[in-house]
Amino acid sequence: MEELFGIPMDVIMAILLAAFLPALTGVAIMAWRNRVMLKLGLRNIPRRKSQTGLIVVGIMISTLIMAAAFGTGDSITFSIRKNATDALGPIDQIIFSARADESDTVGSFNYFSLDRYEQLKVELAEFDLVDGLAPGIGEFAPTVNIRTALSEGQMQVTGVDPNSLDGFGRFHLVNGQEINLETLGPGDALINEDAAEELDAQYGDDLVTYVGGLSITFKVQGVVDSGGLAGVGPTLLVRLDRAQEMFERENQINSIAVSNQGGVIDGAEVSDEVTDALRVLFTDREIARDIQTLLNREDVIGELETLRATLTKELAADLAVVTSGLVESVLTDDFIAMLADEDVQEAVLNAVHEAGIGEVGAEVGTLFAGLAEFRVNAIKKQVLEVADQAGSGVTSIFIVMGLFSIMVGVLLIFLIFVMLAAARRSEMGMARAVGAKQRHLVQMFIFEGTAYSLVSGAVGVGLGLGASSIIVFMANRIFQSGGTGAPESFTMFIHFDPRSAVVAYCLGMVITLATVAISAYRVSRLNIVAAVRGLPAPVEQSQIPYNKRLLAPCEALVRPALLFGFGLLALVRMDISKGFGLLVTSAWAAVILPVRLIITIGQAIWVPMSHGWMTMVAGGLFVWIGVASKEVAPLSVGITLVIIGIGLSLRTISYRIGVQADVADRIAYTFMGLVTLMYWILPSSVLRRIFGDTEGGIEMFFISGVAMVAAAVWTVMYNADLLLVVLTYVAKPFGWFRPVVVTAVAYPMAAKFRTGLTLAMFSLVIFTLIVMSILTEAFSSAVGDSEKVAGGWDIQATVNANTPIYDIRTAIDDRPGLDNRDITAIGGYTAFPVEIRQVGAEEQQWRPYGIRVADDQYLKQTGTTLKLIANGYDSPDDVWKAVQKDSNLVVTDSFIVPSRERFGNDEVQFELEGVYFDDAEMEPIDIEVRDPGTGTVIPLTIIAVTDRISDAFGELGRGIIASRKELDSAIPFQIPTTTYRFKVADGVDVPSLSRDLESEFRENGMETDVLSELVDEIAGANRAFNYLFTSFMGLGLMVGIAALGVVSLRAVVERRQQIGVLRAIGYRRGMVQLSFLTESSFVVIMGVAIGVGLGTVISYNIVKDIQEDLETVRFSIPWLQIGIIVAIAYVFSLVTTYMPSRQASRIYPAEALRYE
């Protein structure tokens, strides 16, 4: 993985090391200079081993999550790369013809003369970067193994020239022995491992391949390793001349594989240079000159210059070549190579559009299409890039998903230090009394915290690696179960880049150390007398005057320069030691300047923020930013800050008019909590009505979770006495339980900060799990609705394009094992790639997409749900009839229709303009589709858009649906039906009919799927991945449970004497234990209630939002899953608190009373 969130990993590592190493060095220097505090800090660690264990567990969670995220990302990158390089072997680029004629068919590359290959070989003879060119034929044909009767409908038949293997290596049998293609006779073939497995074939077996109505028998002469020219997926290898004969393509080929200089991986590094060189060779120079003439205008060049500033460095450089090439009198190779680059073409067309010369744009667009004779597919480089993108994408997703857990981990570190400080308050007071300074206490905690962090970071990285291995294992199982859309052969491998380990460790450490430093600073601020005597901490006012605090940031800013100046002055005055001392201090002041600035600014604005007015101002600022940028995140954060500001102002006013502090706090925090909650549970449609359309991403999930949970916790914590009344009432019938409840609730309520933090942690974790569960359920049930997903069809069958069925009904009649009466309807279509653009749209670049040309039966019988119907058409029935009647009318699937909610598919490059999926209506949209092979352009009009869920989000088929009449006449080659869908009569066993169809049409390479099973498989895979994410997010639960354990352990220690009193006044052992368990239960139950409640509300809103895009998504609560999550949370929390509570109950009263 090379990038994360668009930032190179090397840069991330450098920044983190730059933050972490100086911090660690600083701690080390402090420790060396102050060994007493180091000893004091470190000696606390072994004092309570179980507590230390829980602290380490809690602290390591951030590192664990990072490491797991990076490990998973690395594994994805590595796996895609490995699968790709294993599959491609030495092949770096593939060349195929950009021009088709009437002999070409759907389903394979266009053919061209072998002579062109010979010519190319000569042209590239001096080009060192290419070390191999292999001409070939690649086709698909159904194949049957006579011995085993097993068949493969889509067997890749590859014709390889035995004399052109330089640079590609020889073929090797699976036992390692080299095999020579020259020895193969006309009836001989090799098969790769995948074919051997699929057909259970071995040396000597006879395989029958069906091509164009003929059957050809081959004897297997060996099983070769898959990959490279031997392909992946079932492949039959024959000599090129035999393949030409089989497919009646004398002296023709349909692809040239190119191997670059270098190995399997480093060959791809020169892919750009090779591709450019090949493009120059393949470009029609006349067309290039026409383009040059058309674009050599000041306005276009000006726009190109403007555009360059906004592009990536690489693309900007390419465009610079084009700009200079346009004004030159001759055509340079560099210019031609750039013109043939599709990204450059897009940028040029955009510049032309900006220049406002539409007619030139259209002409240039068409010229670009005919510019190259051949297309060069830099397949390995592309796949490797995809691998890197996938890896960083997955890491980003896992990190975003893990944000809640990281947040909870940070809260735990804070909580731990607050509690440790409370426990050591007296000794800290003593230390201060005998001369220790506040910074010494900070250092003491930092030493202890650093020791915990160093250990837990290392453990976290180790466990994160383990967690990513589990994720990879689970993902492999999901891939094996099918329904994921990934190739069958795709396998994930565990891989961890050492750089990722460094980044994960440093990131975890930086987060931990920062939290430790902040909490250490907070706890070090104690009143010595109150600490020594164990009295409540008095409310302290800052000793620093406010005006001085306002100036502090400026002072911090100029301090290094001043010290430096004084140092120089001292040196000038020959006061060497003072001068150097000041220079060193100045350097240190410069190093810590960022931290000091943050602290002083924080201190300066703290008072007005806490009084409320500045919080309101800050909120207003955020709202303004949100409205101006149309981003929902700053808008919502701003509104929340305004609400908090009002609450804090209420508190300030209440204090000033003499309202009791606890009453004022209750009013303020209840106000903030309830109003914030009300705001966040508002449906987004309300916000839209007020602020117009705003955009938000996955970060809103995190922000809303934190805001809502904080609001709920405030409300609960400041009104818990009311809760106590209710609980007391509930406990009334259980006399013995009442005193248990009294103490169990009183203690957590008395420690509001501690309980609030623990509650917030638990609530956050449960919140995320509930949201994930409900959304998983909503999507899975939507995807799993096979009737809607499959448009009412029961079976889908694909047929090899080389062995089509010309009349399916007659063919069924001819098969004794099939009965037409079992099938009520058969619809067929052929899917193939086209290029598309919208008439009159801003974007005029031809973009790749797919089209499905369907027969009348398909159009008549399909039950595909339509989301949008163009004005002028009344019903879905009306639309399908219109498409049948007028073959220029088409229906598109949803992937090319943008959504206001940004719910779409990034893989698709084309996007319609002027229509949104969430609109209520649409006008007919004129588009043009172009056959990339022939360049034929067909005008079409979109009159409807299908639901997102149709064809299982495109898993079953993708592309515009058109009547085949228009395409049949427009495209020079035949379009045989390659996909059939069947509706089965009532009472007929669908799986059995599916098997019969596959068996009867084996010679046509038919492969069938029962759609309901396929849909279940897809829904199952969908669900499985969501469970995987949910489990990952569940890591946060570990923190929550560890937090409860730490709290309970501390409680037992802190309340030892009070336990003695309780036992003295008659509490039984069980009551003491129950009291502790009830106390934990109180926090867990409250956390669960808040998490489940808020998670359900926010999920409801999310589902409602998604329904605007995807009507079939239904809000439903997965009670079982929620029950399991709640049970796990509760049981594990009780297990963690059981030991401390048992320990508490075992204490002899007298022993407890003696304890100080």
Partner: protein, 232 residues
Amino acid sequence: MPEPIITATGIHKIYDTGTVKVNALRGVNLTVERGEMVAIMGPSGCGKTTMLNCLSGLDEIESGQVVIDGVVLHDLPDDNRSDYRARNMGFVFQLYNLLPVLSAVENVELPLLVSGVRPAEARTRSMDLLELVGLSDRAQHLPGELSGGQRQRVTIARALVNNPSIVWADEPTGDLDSETASDIMDLMCKLNVENGQSFVLVTHSDDVGKRAHRIVRMRDGTIVDDGNATEA
């Protein structure tokens, strides 16, 4: 002749720290009569508090027998002993040992709730007790908001709220100034006289000792003088 409420015979208590064994009580015998107020005195480390803990069942003993009102205390299982304490004993400690998170009245009513008294009745009786100790106006205050003397009064109210037959007090005035200590002793003597409850006090203070019916003097884990009762 008044019947004994506490009869302790041959009590041995050893503290075993793993490396050191300390004989805290070496065959102690003691009898306390119903309604009697006994002060246990002696130098630090002589075993006063240990004896109080062992007699009240707060701590285990190695050998010997403690009989309270006919019940052999250490033969009772732990839970039954807890129940017995809840119904028949009250405790006052030097450091008050109130639960800091409960208000004064909640602290006082806790033993009643443990004994299964209905909440409303428990609250009434607790308020009565707080009135008796002169703190009814501080009933809703948390211990942290009360002075030392007030906290000790709350502790006494808590000790008496169950109307126990025995009140155990470990240095009840140890953390108080002399004037407050005298007030507390006045209160305890008054309750002793009015309610006829037995009081066993551990104290260093001669002033407190003098107010008891009898002073038991201890040294090195044994009773060196148990018969010289002093009239209050």
